[in-house]
């Protein structure tokens, strides 16, 4: 699942925020905000995508840099979130 989540989100970002331009290189630990890939509208779009794609509900308090700002952060956050959803 690890690679799949990151690949899925990376594809969403490249397709929606970069017009499919794969020449823009960003690593799994690169800040999406500091690199100008994600802005405030982008955050709304990304959250809406994650909620739909993974069938989860993300609270405003969870929309933090440590959950959303890099692909690795997003992956860790989603893994935790989905475990909680399954447990409940």
């Amino acid at each position: 699942m690890n690679q799949d989540v990151k690949t899925t989100i990376r594809e969403f970002i490249v397709e929606n925020f970069l017009f499919g331009d794969t020449s823009v290189v960003f690593d799994d630990d690169d800040s999406l905000m500091e690199n100008g890939i994600l802005d405030s509208t982008g955050i709304l779009e990304l959250v809406a995508f994650l909620e739909k794609e993974y069938g989860i509900r993300i609270a405003n308090e969870e929309i933090l840099p440590e959950n959303m700002d890099t692909l690795n952060n997003l992956h860790r956050f989603l893994e935790k979130k989905m475990k909680l959803e399954q447990a409940s």
Partner: protein, 328 residues
């Protein structure tokens, strides 16, 4: 000298002289216009710009235009009139409500609001807000929609991206139609349009491109909001205007600029930003503002992100040079 709020202090007399000289040179020599039109909202920034225009060109060469519409606070036009009278300029009121109805401003905005809150109707008030940046968790810019029923019941939800963009795009008709009206008066008089944005608005992108951002010169775009207040006192701007909290005057519900965009009080945000620009270490900024270092870092990140995210607002339209090659 340790970094402190005193670092934001300006010499208002000297600054006024510097700005007035810039305005005369720009309007007279570069733009070759004969005076200035200023949209006045009863707020601090436009009031200061009107006063500066009077010093630069003389009251007889300045026109103040108030442009209320159905959602405007009626107090705004009253204060604008008072200001125009005090400074002896010609004063014009243009009611922009019919123009907004023509553009479908209210209809398009309300359609989007109803998709989030089906119970919403024109008897409700609405606004868009951001979380406060002093929160130590560092919550990101997540736009939320608040509606207030006629009975005062308030409901808030995060806005989905499509609805957020439609509400903002519809509301932006207000600023764009105001710009069109200001240029009507400027062109008929052969005057320049004075933009009233301060540094916070100009650099963090709190303006509408080709709306309130559309102007011939922006005399206070280099000044922090707290410095505009210093200038306002020096220029004798009426106290009711100086004491009024800065609002967007765009949404039907009362909405301060802090709630909608800046996320922190100006006296804190300005000092953090100045410290950031001067490379002052975070612990020193924290001491000067009375904040925790984590809070300072959150505010710095928010400012940097806004400047970066709104770069496109400050860009001129792009075009190819005649022989420029592009990668196909």
């Amino acid at each position: 000298m340790p970094f402190s709020k005193d670092d934001l202090k300006i010499d208002p007399a000297h600054e006024t002289e510097r700005i007035v000289s810039f305005m005369r040179q720009t309007v007279g020599r570069k733009l070759r216009k004969r005076g200035a039109v200023v949209g006045i909202s009863g707020g601090i920034d436009s009031s200061v710009c009107l006063a500066l225009s009077v010093q630069a060109f003389g009251a007889e060469r300045v026109v103040g235009v108030a442009m209320p519409e159905a959602d405007s606070n009626p107090e705004s036009a009253v204060l604008a009139r008072k200001l125009a009278r005090q400074f002896g300029v010609r004063f014009i009121v243009e009611d922009m409500t019919a123009a907004q109805i023509g553009f479908g401003t209210y209809r398009r905005r309300d359609e989007a609001i109803r998709r989030v809150f089906p119970e919403y109707d024109p008897t409700y008030k609405a606004k868009i807000v951001l979380p406060n940046a002093l929160d130590e968790t560092g919550v990101l810019n997540v736009f939320q929609l608040t509606i207030i029923s006629p009975e005062g019941e308030e409901k808030t939800k995060r806005i989905p991206p499509e609805e957020y963009l439609q509400i903002v795009a519809a509301s932006n008709f207000k600023q764009r139609s105001r710009m069109a009206m200001l240029y009507y008066h400027a062109e008929r008089l052969n005057y320049a349009v004075v933009g009233t944005g301060n540094k916070n608005e100009h650099e963090q992108g709190f303006f509408v491109k080709y709306g309130d951002g559309g102007a011939d010169l922006k005399p206070i775009a280099h000044l922090f909001k707290t410095q505009v207040y210093q200038l306002a006192e020096y220029l004798n701007i009426p106290e009711e205007i100086r004491k009024r909290p800065p609002t967007t005057d765009t949404y039907s519900a009362e909405c301060t600029q802090e709630e909608f965009f800046f996320r922190v009080p100006f006296e804190i945000g300005d000092l953090v930003w100045l410290g950031m620009e001067r490379g002052v270490p975070v612990p020193e900024i924290a001491k000067a503002t009375g904040l925790k270092e984590a809070q300072v870092e959150n505010i710095m990140r928010d400012i940097r992100q806004k400047i970066r995210a709104t770069e496109y607002l400050r860009m001129e339209p792009f075009h190819l040079d005649t022989k420029e090659e592009v990668v196909l």
